[in-house]
């Protein structure tokens, strides 16, 4: 029980830290937006005959967090865009380079748009921008000029700061629990149905004297799902070697074949049966998706494997494989992180590892403490997600109510939301 109570403390700590981070972000977001090199140029009423009112408050700000190649231009909408004549068709943006009075038109946006990102500039150069509104009939307002702005380089991409913070939080807790687990801390883990069946399924194949088929998905090693599949393959192959059964691993990707060979050979070596390892049972078929499926179908109907594993990235072929496997009476264990293919595996296989369970499976099967520790780190990530969803929902609810004095919450909420990239 002490274990559980300690767990809840760590969770509380994470919740509190998350909350404080969110609140911090909410307050700092407006500060970040108000930058020093903002210029305010008030416009007077339109001087040109029939021309729409000019936009106001034209600001040009160096785009933060980049290598210094972009400037964000923004302005307040023309009076004739939102009210007044309502004849504004859009805005034209002009740019001049350091001191030159010559403004070139660099782009235009539709009406009701109040920002423009100018990219592909030179770092360290000073620019000046101006914006005019125009109507469909071609009248253009006087241009409103911004203050000068110099592009700068930064060394950290602050646009991605939330990715960084969450990476540190989640990665940190994964590492923290791995470290703890290494020190011999016992951890509770719930059961996953498909994984408990693995050993039984291999045993059954051995009894029936039939081989085992393992498909590590159809992606190459540049997909994390394939890597997870390989880790499971290592455990399966080890057991196959111990039971003196036989395993076939046809692959669609050639690098995956190389990896699978290493994996299986290692497993046979660990089991002390390196002489029984047959490299030719792990082979590349073809890169063509359905050519691969055709060949695997052939293997299934001819070799009649008693157990089929499908663990990795799958696409449309999932159901073809699973149904053919079913027709030969094989026990089938599938797992993928492709949400679109899960329904078919669930319908046609005996056991299915859903999404995250595929990644968890390798840790479960390895039984190594450090692997298991990472699962707890993943759970911390889920707590963060749940907390964020709940807090967000509560704040949004409060924010939608009229007459309550909750301006602070509302502001905080909008801050968080915008920092998270919402509302764009």
């Amino acid at each position: 029980m002490s274990r559980l109570s300690r767990l809840s403390i760590s969770r509380k700590t994470f919740l509190t830290s998350l909350l404080s981070l969110l609140v911090f972000a909410a307050y700092s977001a407006p500060l970040l937006a108000q930058d020093s090199d903002i210029s305010v140029t008030d416009s007077t009423s339109a001087e040109l005959e029939g021309a729409p009112a000019a936009p106001t408050n034209v600001l040009a700000v160096d785009h933060k967090y980049d290598i210094g190649e972009a400037v964000d231009v923004s302005w307040d909408l023309s009076f004739d865009d939102t009210a007044g004549m309502r004849n504004v068709a859009g805005y034209i943006i002009y740019r001049s380079v350091a001191g030159s009075a010559e403004f070139d038109s660099i782009g235009a946006v539709f009406s009701l748009t109040s920002s423009f990102a100018d990219i592909g500039l030179t770092r360290g150069e000073t620019y000046q921008y101006s914006v005019s509104s125009y109507t469909l009939s071609g009248q253009v307002s006087e241009p409103i000029v911004s203050a000068e702005v110099t592009t700068e380089r930064e060394w950290f991409d602050w646009d991605e700061v939330w990715v960084f913070i969450l990476l540190v939080l989640i990665g940190g807790s994964v590492m923290y629990f791995i470290y703890h687990a290494r020190k011999g801390k016992q951890m509770f883990l719930r059961k996953i149905a498909g994984l408990q069946a693995v050993e039984e399924a291999i045993g059954r194949a051995t009894e029936m004297g039939r081989p085992i088929l393992f498909i590590p998905g159809i992606h190459d090693m540049d997909d994390v799902q394939t890597i997870a599949g390989m880790t499971i393959l290592a455990k399966v192959a080890k057991q196959v070697a111990e039971y003196e059964s036989r395993i076939f691993v046809p692959t669609r990707a050639s690098l995956a074949m190389t990896a699978a060979r290493e994996t299986v050979r290692e497993a046979y070596m660990t089991a002390g049966r390196v002489d029984a390892y047959r490299a030719d049972d792990i082979y590349y078929v073809t890169d063509e998706q359905f050519g691969y499926v055709a060949a695997v179908n052939g293997i299934m109907t001819r070799d009649k494997p008693a157990t089929c594993f499908y663990l990795g990235a799958f696409f449309a072929e999932s159901l073809i494989l699973a149904e053919t496997g079913n027709s030969i009476g094989a026990i089938q264990i599938a797992g993928t992180a492709q949400p679109a293919q899960l329904p078919f595996f669930v319908a046609a296989c005996d056991y299915t590892l859903i999404g995250e369970e595929l990644f968890a499976a390798s840790a479960y099967l390895s039984g190594e403490a450090k692997q298991l520790g990472s699962l707890k780190g993943q759970d911390v990530g889920k707590v963060i997600a749940m907390a964020a969803v709940l807090i967000g929902a509560v704040l949004a609810t409060l924010g939608s109510e009229e007459g309550m004095n909750i301006e602070t919450f509302r502001g905080a909420f909008h801050g968080i939301w915008s920092v998270f990239g919402g509302g764009q």
């Binding site: 990219i119 592909g120 679109a340």
Partner: protein
């Protein structure tokens, strides 16, 4: 004589709301034979179910094959209902102005073609009717052939089209998501030339196009990865371009989360395509029913659906009967 009987006023009103038959099919006599066989087959499966026997998978295969084959041969057409998700795409294109540029990305291969090609054709026809300029591209190596097919299909309707002025084809570049990442901000970096090596600057319609948002509308039609999800992630989200999409039925549900924020409309599978064809037909009557590819597919699909639903119902009846029997014997 027999034909006259089947076409007689007694029978045709009975079925006209259910389905109509297009001219290229085998005709009413065959349709009747087909329906009789279909009902007989389903009845047989039902009979076996009642008797508590499982239906073998090959029988299911055979029935499925006969159902779809029969429906294809008879050329059944069913009524289509429109949805807002598809209508949004149609309306966006309808409201664009003459000369606006549309980027059409066909990210699929021949296996996706039955569902997706009709979308590409219908959207192209609509754009050209509105005198918009279309730029074709693809993220799939096999997509080049798809673009060529679409262009071949639409050319006869618009003989006056000029390559480079009214439409162009920049073809395929390897790199999947990387291509999108780059064209979101710099179109020419990845596509300095069109598919046949002509420098993009020399194509009149591409002047002024420097990045994806320079297109008034992007329609991404795709069936996998890289596809619509990648378009949203690497183009729409960073650049704020306006996008509509056409997805294979299988991937449509998982793309719903992007509607309506990241994409303003989506055509899902042949259903979505046939809706678009219907809207197109209404606005531009010259596109008759006979030329609507997706609409033609819908008939067999629905018949197959009926069959599948019946199968599921039978399966459950047999399951409950078996349970009851087991309960009675115990």
């Amino acid at each position: 004589m027999i034909q006259a009987l089947f076409l007689s006023p007694v029978f045709s009103p009975l079925f006209s709301p259910l389905f109509s038959v297009v001219s290229h099919g085998l005709g009413p006599v065959f349709s009747w034979i087909f329906w009789i066989l279909f009902v007989a087959g389903v009845g047989w499966v039902f009979w076996r179910t009642i008797k508590g026997r499982e239906v073998e998978r090959r029988v299911i295969f055979l029935m499925m094959g006969l159902t779809v084959a029969g429906a294809v041969l008879t050329g059944i057409v069913l009524p289509v209902q429109e949805t807002v998700v598809v209508r949004n795409i149609f309306d966006t294109i309808e409201n664009l102005e003459e000369g606006d540029k549309v980027l059409l990305s066909l990210d699929y291969d021949p296996s996706g073609a039955p569902e997706l090609q009709p979308m590409a054709i219908a959207v192209s026809q609509h754009c050209l009717e509105k005198k918009l300029k279309i730029c074709y591209m693809t993220l799939w190596g096999t997509g080049g052939a798809m673009i060529a097919d679409v262009i071949t299909a639409i050319r006869p309707d618009f003989p006056e089209l000029v390559y480079g002025e009214d439409y162009c084809n920049v073809g395929y570049r390897a790199g999947n998501e990387a291509v999108l990442k780059v064209i979101a901000t710099d179109f020419r970096k990845t596509f300095p030339t069109d598919v046949s090596g002509i420098v993009l600057d020399s194509l009149p319609m591409m002047t002024g196009v420097t990045a994806c948002p320079d297109f008034s509308y992007i329609v991404a039609i795709g069936s996998g990865r890289p596809g619509i999800k990648e378009w949203v992630e690497y183009v729409v989200e960073p650049s704020g371009a306006l996008m509509g999409s056409g997805a294979a039925a299988v991937s449509a549900p998982q793309l719903y989360p992007y509607y309506p924020q990241q994409m303003n409309g989506m055509m899902g599978g042949s259903k979505g395509a046939s809706e678009y064809e219907k809207m197109l037909r209404r606005g531009y009557p010259k596109y008759g029913e006979f030329r609507a590819q997706a609409t033609e597919i819908m008939g067999p699909q629905t018949v197959a659906h009926v069959f599948l639903m019946l199968l599921i119902i039978f399966a459950n009846i047999s399951f409950f009967l078996a349970k009851k029997r087991k309960g009675a014997s115990a």
